[in-house]
Subunit: 581 residues, 2 copies
């Protein structure tokens, strides 16, 4: 089956050419004895004109029939400026029906009103929609661009095991029963973390892998049973060197895939600054609203809610939304509910009207405080002010969530705008109420910042790590850290985390052993490929950039996986299904 | 930690330069107060010279310590022509110990006498051996070269599901219990076959994927729990077009990775010719010995063994091994055992000595037959002749196995010689004694050859498929086929395979449905990446080209996977381990 051109590439310059095309019937319409067909392939659509002589032969042809067509490119009278090929059409001289098609359960067009489960059940048809093909092709372009950069910079792709060891730390493992070793299980990898560090110990120096990773967690819009991680590790580089290199890779990516010039270096915010300004460790800075410090404004407040927070060394902050004073009681209730959902005890909402503030909390504020707020926040008529008072982290987090919600409601997040930034200097430890001890914010192999190492003995909570996240449009695209390569420091960290020697051995056994043989300084990071593809293709869900995703119930509506299996399969694996289900 | 150069790249032209290097101590030796160290990184080794002033500082340094070294490149007096950097050494001006190392449980050198389980337990050290690093780096170069070709030719890499549906056809599945759907299981993919065909139905036209595939079979030297498949599918191309394209990719690969000019088109043998000439559907044609047709020579034989085979329309063939008449009784017994292991009833061995043949079967042969053998086989003094008589396929297979064994024993298979060929026109069906019916030689979606379609009604066994294997040095590197895209033909094939409508629905349900919506003609193939890497890196085992392989017991000696897991993990998955273990 020969074609001379793809459907989407024909232009005025091809007029007069005899061409052969292959494609699916996207639309068919007739004017009297004339028939027009839009023929579609992966490159686009081209209009075919069938003269009277074909009126019988074309009769049975319906949407999604596959045609092989021969004819001449001619200029169209009624040009279609919407279509890249809209200036021309093909005067068909002959054609064959290559294959027929039943009526499709969903319309093959960019716009669809099909339910997502229908789209997933007939995914092979859903993927025929040009908009979906473009997304998967863009995903491929993204991987090509990143791979090319890594290849050019001496990185070696190395595949790590898919059937590994289950480690109870972290998320829930997917398990794979062993037939050969009854009662034993492999675990599908949550990430190649240990392996990539081992490869540094092996001296590979620069490693990458587009790695499939698995976490058996409950699914959300941007979660799947498994995901693809662009996993990177280097030896001998500083945090700055790693960050610069990754910026260069992302600048290249944005240029090649989106045609956009992104400026490096990217904004770098410390964790503390990100929280203070945006109330998030993955701030979306495409819109201006920032958190404002108000603790000092209320130093002498008599408003009991603020007073108690100030007395307990808490933090009062606010955000100002311009021209938002018109919001209704119902909207205020919704924002308050959102604040409470994020752990706030309440939310103070004040509107700047008539050079005063109105709102239920107004009566607790002194006029001098109102004046101070006007000055500090440069309030203007019709501004709306949201204030949260709580412990520092809570105050930030709650206002960050409000900020995000307001950004969405006001359509301030433009999908075609791309804002990268780094968040650095993450705290090394966080206290777990649940465990009654500190735990590593990233993982216990993360390197504490050199200047903070003395604090390990005096002020654990203030120790910052050489850990960094890359953020795009409010999504964490990826993150990483330098790793500890000194045995003594590693032991100290384990002690601080409350691990006994036996526990260390059980949890990290062979990995710790490996550290004794000339481990190089190393560090790296991992990007979430699905998320990058989602954002760059301006999609709403990662399911749109995965060829055959699971639904929110971890099921594939097409293949119906997971399914019951034959008893003989279970017998061979020495497992039985428990009755307790 | 700055380096100016990699250790392996310094040459005479660098003499006089001040350099900084990083690396592991590969060897340390002293002459009086002078110390010499071979410093190793992934690029190679460089000799360091430590003058007297360092004799104390260097004392604690042992093998596999990691050093950061500064000094001047000088010309060596005692040059080492074995080493690319053997003309120079570094006069060290200062150095730091970056990290220390315990004595390694295996020697970090190309040659090792460590047991494989030790190598696998300390794989991170085994992978420090330069020979192992080169293998994994070559594997990466192979993937780069193939990816580049595919990218340049409009192929799109698309990831297919890792958690799929268990299908009892084919090899044994690895199962993954579902937590969300108690009693149901995902299966890890044996290949993306269905998905890649669905992607053609979606209109992607050219797809590839470096896909991890899983088969729970017992392991051998060239088997692992999982393997990497270079999975390729195209629409609208003929078998010849697919084959030519793949040849182009392999020619590029051999040039780029091995520096070898391979000539395309490769030899193409039909299945029948491959069996007739080499006794194998994956012939190693690096050595000349070929099977010779002898059935007609024995047309009138009175040797009962041959007589009965001829009467039952069987086949008599032989191979001639020059200068092999010296083999002992013991060797003959071993070859006979090998023949029997491959299903022969016996093996006729005749030696060409004194213009006659000797051997236990000589007495059953007429002199005219001996003469005819001399003529047909152009026998020379000291040739050794092996004859097998049986049904055609058995005769071929047995002689093929002998041929292979003799090729190995006589060292005729040179690892640095690379011979590609295609085997085509595979039979579409084979009769399964076990199932009492025909089954598809490849899979039931394989396209029968157009000219053989009439034979579907008359002579099923003679129907050939548009299926093709690519063979390198006697290994099947990959294989594929055109696929059926016509519903009626597909139904006919299923009927021939004895499937009822219900069975078709149960086994291939959603996949068959997909074929009704304008399926394009399509076909493709898959390469075994591990095997390509093994052969090109001239390794004996695929374990040498996998970073962290399982041993023959499907276990990872390093992580100890698979392992028992916590009861709570099993509870969540609603499974219990059966007592029957």
């Amino acid at each position: 089956m020969k074609r001379t051109h793809y459907n989407g590439e024909l232009r005025l310059e091809h007029v007069g050419l005899e061409v052969s095309l292959i494609g699916w019937v996207s639309k068919k319409r007739n004017f009297g004895q004339l028939n027009f067909i839009d023929l579609r392939d992966r490159s686009g659509i081209c209009q075919l004109l069938f003269s009277e002589q074909f009126s019988d032969q074309i009769k049975p042809v319906r949407n999604e029939y596959l045609l092989h067509v021969h004819g001449k490119v001619v200029e169209r009278k009624d040009k279609n400026p919407e279509l890249p090929t809209g200036d021309i059409e093909i005067e068909v001289s002959s054609f064959e029906i290559v294959n027929t098609a039943k009526t499709t359960p969903l319309i093959i067009a960019d716009e669809t009103d099909a339910l997502e489960d229908t789209r997933l059940e007939y995914r092979y048809l859903d993927l025929r929609r040009p908009v979906m093909q473009k997304k998967l092709i863009m995903r491929h372009q993204i991987t090509r661009s990143m791979r090319e950069y890594l290849d050019q910079h001496g990185f070696i792709e190395i595949e790590t095991p898919m059937l590994g060891k289950s480690t109870p730390e972290g998320a829930r493992d997917y398990l794979v029963p062993s037939r050969v070793h009854p009662g034993s299980f492999y675990a599908l990898p949550q990430s190649p973390q240990l392996y990539k560090q081992l490869l540094m110990i092996s001296g590979f120096e620069r490693y990458y892998q587009f790695a499939r990773c698995f976490r058996d967690e409950d699914l959300r819009a941007d979660r799947q049973t498994d995901f693809t991680q662009v996993d990177i590790e280097t030896s001998f580089l500083s945090e700055d060197e790693i960050i610069s290199m990754m910026e260069e890779m992302l600048v290249k990516l944005m240029k090649e895939v989106k045609g956009i010039d992104v400026q490096a270096p990217f904004l770098r915010l410390t964790y503390r600054e990100a929280m203070n300004r945006y109330g998030s460790d993955k701030p979306d800075n495409r819109f201006d609203i920032e958190l404002q410090e108000l603790t000092d404004v209320f130093e002498n407040t008599e408003f009991q809610v603020f007073r108690s927070v100030i007395d307990s060394k808490g933090s009062i902050k606010g955000i100002v939304v311009p021209d938002f004073a018109h919001i209704s009681r119902k909207q205020i209730d919704a924002f308050t509910a959102l604040a409470k959902k994020n752990g706030a005890k309440g939310l103070v909402v004040l509107k700047a009207l008539d050079s005063d503030l109105t709102g239920s909390a107004r009566k607790f504020l002194k006029d001098s405080e109102v004046k101070a707020l006007y000055e500090r926040l440069r309030l203007k008529e019709n501004d709306c002010l949201f204030i949260v008072s709580d412990q520092w982290l809570k105050t930030c987090t709650v206002l960050g969530a409000l900020r995000n919600e307001i950004g969405s409601q006001l359509h301030l997040k433009h999908k075609d705008e791309f804002s990268f930034l780094w968040v650095t200097e993450f705290p090394m430890f966080e206290y777990s109420e649940e465990l009654g001890r500190y735990q590593a914010s990233h993982h216990p192999f993360t390197q504490p910042m050199q200047e903070d190492i003395p604090l390990l003995d005096t002020d654990v909570e203030s120790v910052r790590a050489n850990a960094y996240d890359i953020v795009l449009n409010g999504y964490e695209l990826g993150g990483g850290s330098l790793r500890i390569y000194d045995n003594h420091l590693q032991e100290k960290i384990f002690e601080l985390l409350g691990f006994s020697e036996q526990q260390i051995k059980d949890k990290f056994g062979f990995f710790i052993d490996a550290f004794q043989y000339g481990t190089p300084p190393h560090g790296g990071l991992a990007f979430g490929l699905d998320r990058i593809a989602m954002i760059l293709s301006e999609s709403d869900s990662i399911r749109d950039v995965i060829a055959f995703p699971k639904n929110a119930n971890a099921k594939c509506p097409m293949s119906k996986a997971p399914t019951p299996v034959d008893q003989s399969q279970l017998d061979e694996l020495h497992i039985v299904i428990s009755d307790s289900k």
